[in-house]
C-alpha cells in the first residue's frame, strides 16, 4: 500500500529512448514531421535527467507528507478493487488538470513549470524537458487530497506515473489528428500542440493530462486551427541554452521583482505570469485581448492607460 509495486515511468524509459530515435530517423528520411536542433535537444534531455535527480532528493519529503495525510484518511479504499482504479484515474486526472492550470496561471507555480515550455521545438524530447524545482513550491499538495480521501499512496504514485507516460507520446508533430471520437475525449498531439504554442489565441489553453473533457468542462479548450500554425516556446523566449538559466531563470526573475518592489510582492508571486504593478508587462489575458479581432494595437503601457 505504501511502496508502489512498479513505476510506470521507469518501465517506459526504454520506450522513451527508442521512440525519440524513431522520430528523429523517420524525420531524417522525410517519413514523419519533426524538427530537432542539437542544443535544444541536449537542453531538453538534460533537464529530464536533472529532474530525476531532483525527484530523488525531494521524493522523501513528498512521500512522508502523503503517508502522513493517508494515516488520517476518511475511507479505506482497496487497491485491488476495479472501481477504485476507475475512481483514482478520474480523480488524479482532475487533480492534474487543476495543478496544470495553476501552474500556468500563478507565477509561484509557473516559475517551475516554465521549464517544460521553454523549447521552441515540439517533439518527443520536449516531453522529457521537466522541471528541477517542482516540489519546492508545494504543488504536490493537490494530490494529498487523494490520500486524505483514502487512496493508498502507492496507487496514487502509479496513476501519476501512468499519466506522465500517457502525456509523453502526445509531444509530437508527427501525428496530425487521431480519430474524431478520440479527439473528443482524450488529450492528443493536436490538443497538446495548442497548449505548447505561444500564439495569442492558444495561450493558457488545453491543460488536460489524459482526458481533454476537463478543458471542455471548465472552458479552457481550444482546437488547433489550420489557419493558425503553432509557434512553440514562451511569450518571451530564452536567448540561451545554459542549463542553470533554463532551470532557474523565472525563480530569479520573480525574486528580483519582489526585492525591487516589496510593496507589490504578493502580486509578483501570486499574480499571473506577466503581471506588473505598473502595467509595463503583459499577462496572457492582456495578450489575448490585444490580439482579438478589432482590438486597438497599442503597447502594453498604452493599453493600460486606455
Amino acid at each position: 500500500m505504501i511502496k508502489p509495486p512498479f513505476d510506470p515511468v521507469t518501465l517506459a524509459t526504454p520506450f522513451f529512448i527508442l521512440t525519440v530515435i524513431a522520430e528523429i530517423v523517420l524525420a531524417r528520411f522525410g517519413w514523419a514531421k519533426a524538427r530537432y536542433e542539437t542544443k535544444d535537444t541536449a537542453a531538453s534531455l538534460l533537464m529530464g535527467l536533472g529532474s530525476t535527480v531532483a525527484g530523488v532528493l525531494t521524493g522523501g519529503a513528498v512521500a512522508a507528507a502523503t503517508l502522513w495525510v493517508w494515516s488520517h484518511r476518511l475511507f479505506d479504499i482497496p487497491m485491488t478493487a476495479v472501481w477504485a482504479w476507475v475512481a483514482v484515474f478520474l480523480l488524479e486526472d482532475l487533480t492534474y488538470y487543476w495543478f496544470h492550470r495553476i501552474s500556468h496561471e500563478r507565477r509561484i507555480w509557473w516559475v517551475s513549470h516554465v521549464n517544460h515550455h521553454s523549447s521552441q521545438h515540439y517533439n518527443l524530447s520536449t516531453a522529457l524537458r521537466q522541471t528541477w524545482t517542482g516540489a519546492l513550491n508545494g504543488s504536490f499538495a493537490l494530490w494529498l487530497i487523494l490520500a486524505w480521501l483514502g487512496f493508498p499512496p502507492a496507487m496514487i504514485a502509479i496513476q501519476k506515473g501512468i499519466s506522465l507516460v500517457y502525456q509523453y507520446w502526445i509531444h509530437t508533430e508527427a501525428i496530425k489528428k487521431t480519430p474524431r471520437w478520440f479527439e473528443a475525449v482524450f488529450n492528443t498531439p493536436s490538443h497538446h500542440r495548442v497548449h505548447h504554442a505561444r500564439n495569442a489565441v492558444y495561450l493558457d489553453r488545453n491543460y488536460a493530462g489524459i482526458l481533454i473533457v476537463w478543458d471542455r468542462l471548465f472552458g479552457t479548450f481550444q482546437a488547433e486551427l489550420d489557419e493558425e500554425p503553432c509557434r512553440y516556446g514562451l511569450v518571451k523566449n530564452l536567448a540561451t541554452f545554459n542549463l542553470l538559466r533554463v532551470a532557474f531563470h523565472e525563480w530569479i526573475a520573480m525574486a528580483g521583482d519582489v526585492v525591487r518592489h516589496p510593496r507589490h510582492a504578493l502580486g509578483y508571486v501570486l499574480g499571473p505570469p506577466g503581471w506588473s504593478h505598473d502595467g509595463s508587462r503583459e499577462t496572457s489575458t492582456m495578450i489575448k485581448a490585444a490580439a482579438a479581432p478589432g482590438a486597438l494595437k497599442l503597447a502594453p503601457a498604452e493599453r493600460e492607460a486606455a
Binding site: R28, A42, L45, Q120, R245, A299
Partner: protein, 129 residues
C-alpha cells in the same frame, strides 16, 4: 542515493549522449537562413505587434537585428534555429559596447542576458538625428 539509482543515472546519461548525437547526425533543425530586412521586419512584427519601426539594422552575419521604435530598441537574436526578442530603452542600446564590429547589448534579463550583433558601425551612420 543508492548504487542502483546511480547506475540508472549513468545509463540515462549515456542514453542522453546517444540521443543528442543522433539529433546532430540527422540535421533536421528548422531552416534558418540569414536574416534579411523583410524577414527581420516579419519576426519583429510577430514579437512586438503594433510597434512601428523608425529604423532597422540587420546584423551583417544575419543572425540578429536591432530596430528603433520610439524610445525603445527592439532586439532580435538567433538562438539555435529559433529567435528570441527583447525590448530595452533606446539609450541602453546606444550605450552598448562596440568593439571589432560586434555590438554587445546587455538585455538585462536572466533568460536573455546579452545579444551580440555584428554591425559595420555603431551608432548606425544612417540614424536620423
Amino acid at each position: 542515493m543508492s548504487p542502483a539509482f546511480l547506475l540508472q543515472l549513468a545509463g540515462s546519461a549515456v542514453a542522453v549522449g546517444a540521443l543528442v548525437a543522433t539529433a546532430a547526425w540527422a540535421k533536421i533543425a528548422k531552416p534558418a537562413p540569414p536574416l534579411d530586412d523583410a524577414r527581420a521586419r516579419a519576426l519583429l512584427a510577430a514579437e512586438f505587434p503594433g510597434r512601428t519601426l523608425d529604423g532597422l539594422w540587420v546584423a551583417t552575419d544575419g543572425v540578429g537585428a536591432l530596430a528603433k521604435s520610439g524610445g525603445l530598441a527592439l532586439v532580435l537574436c538567433q538562438v539555435g534555429d529559433g529567435w528570441a526578442a527583447r525590448q530595452i530603452p533606446w539609450a541602453q542600446a546606444m550605450a552598448a559596447s562596440f568593439r571589432n564590429g560586434r555590438l554587445s547589448v546587455d538585455l538585462a534579463d536572466v533568460a536573455a542576458p546579452r545579444a551580440v550583433l555584428t554591425f559595420p558601425a555603431w551608432p548606425p551612420t544612417d540614424l536620423a538625428a
